[in-house]
């Protein structure tokens, strides 16, 4: 898995690619929580190139959600493939996270995401 950070205005985007599992999720966790703790108001994760995510990856996303709630910042995911989306749905987390179809929609709507994560 690779995680790369880019910024558009006041929005931080983490572009993830590959498999997110017990081996790779600590890297995502470090970068996601590190970016959130740096005080940025909006954080998005680009999941379009994430080929697999397991419970440890989901746990990392939930940690990000919890931190965004604490800091009253905006956090969302976009570009989820069907397998990642179905896993979130099965765990009933699809309504907890702010999910966007693509980057365009995410950039337009992220600032309207409520601090508790949903739209």
């Amino acid at each position: 898995m690779k995680v790369q950070l880019r910024k558009i205005d006041k929005i931080s985007i983490l572009d993830c690619s590959g498999d997110v599992d017990l081996y790779s999720s600590p890297d995502l966790r470090e970068k996601l929580l590190g970016e959130m703790k740096s005080g940025v108001p909006n954080v998005l994760i680009n999941m379009a190139a994430v080929t697999y995510i397991d419970s440890s990856g989901i746990a990392t996303l939930v940690e990000g959600l919890q931190l965004s709630r604490e800091k009253k910042t905006h956090f969302g995911l976009f570009g989820l493939r069907n397998n990642a989306r179905s896993v979130l749905e099965l765990a009933r987390l699809h309504k907890v996270f702010a999910l966007f179809e693509n980057e365009k929609e995410a950039l337009e709507k992220i600032s309207s995401v409520k601090p508790f994560g949903g739209l």
Partner: protein, 145 residues
């Protein structure tokens, strides 16, 4: 087929590849193939975290057997006995990190149980029936070898 790996999370990818390959060969649809790979990944993750407590020195053995109507996956480790309660799925209405691995295993497999008679560590037996042969009457039954 039997595959033995060390308890290094880097090797989970190999387990997933093997499970995907075997499940495809047996004839599971693509959606089940991915879910079976995830179930085994989650089971192995539990071993690494709970039985071996993140030590990289342990061994995991995955036995995969294909039958006309199902596949059996038997995951063995030599760590201390893990009580089923320790890896019990958590209620989904709790929004917190962790505790979902066992939930996914139970969701994706037709049956899943620890072999209480296995003394060398933990042996988790997971069964998935092929879609056309699935029958509620068979759920929970496991053919022991």
């Amino acid at each position: 087929m039997r595959i033995v790996i060390s308890s290094h999370p880097k090797l989970l990818n190999i387990l997933r590849c093997v499970v995907r390959y075997c499940a495809k060969q047996v004839g599971f649809p693509e959606s089940d193939v991915d879910r079976l790979a995830m179930a085994i990944d989650e089971a192995a993750t539990n071993v690494m975290r709970h039985a071996y407590k993140d030590s990289l020195e342990g061994k995991l053995a995955l036995n995969i057997q294909a039958f006309p109507d199902r596949m059996e996956f038997i995951l063995e480790d030599s760590g201390p006995k893990v009580t089923p309660e320790a890896v019990k799925p958590r209620p989904l209405d709790e929004i917190r990190p962790g505790g979902l691995g066992t939930f996914f295993i139970h969701s994706f497999m037709d049956s899943c149980c620890f072999d209480e008679h296995y003394d060398a560590g933990n042996r988790l037996i997971m069964v998935k029936y092929l879609p056309q042969k699935a029958s509620s009457d068979d759920e929970g039954t496991i053919k022991k070898n």
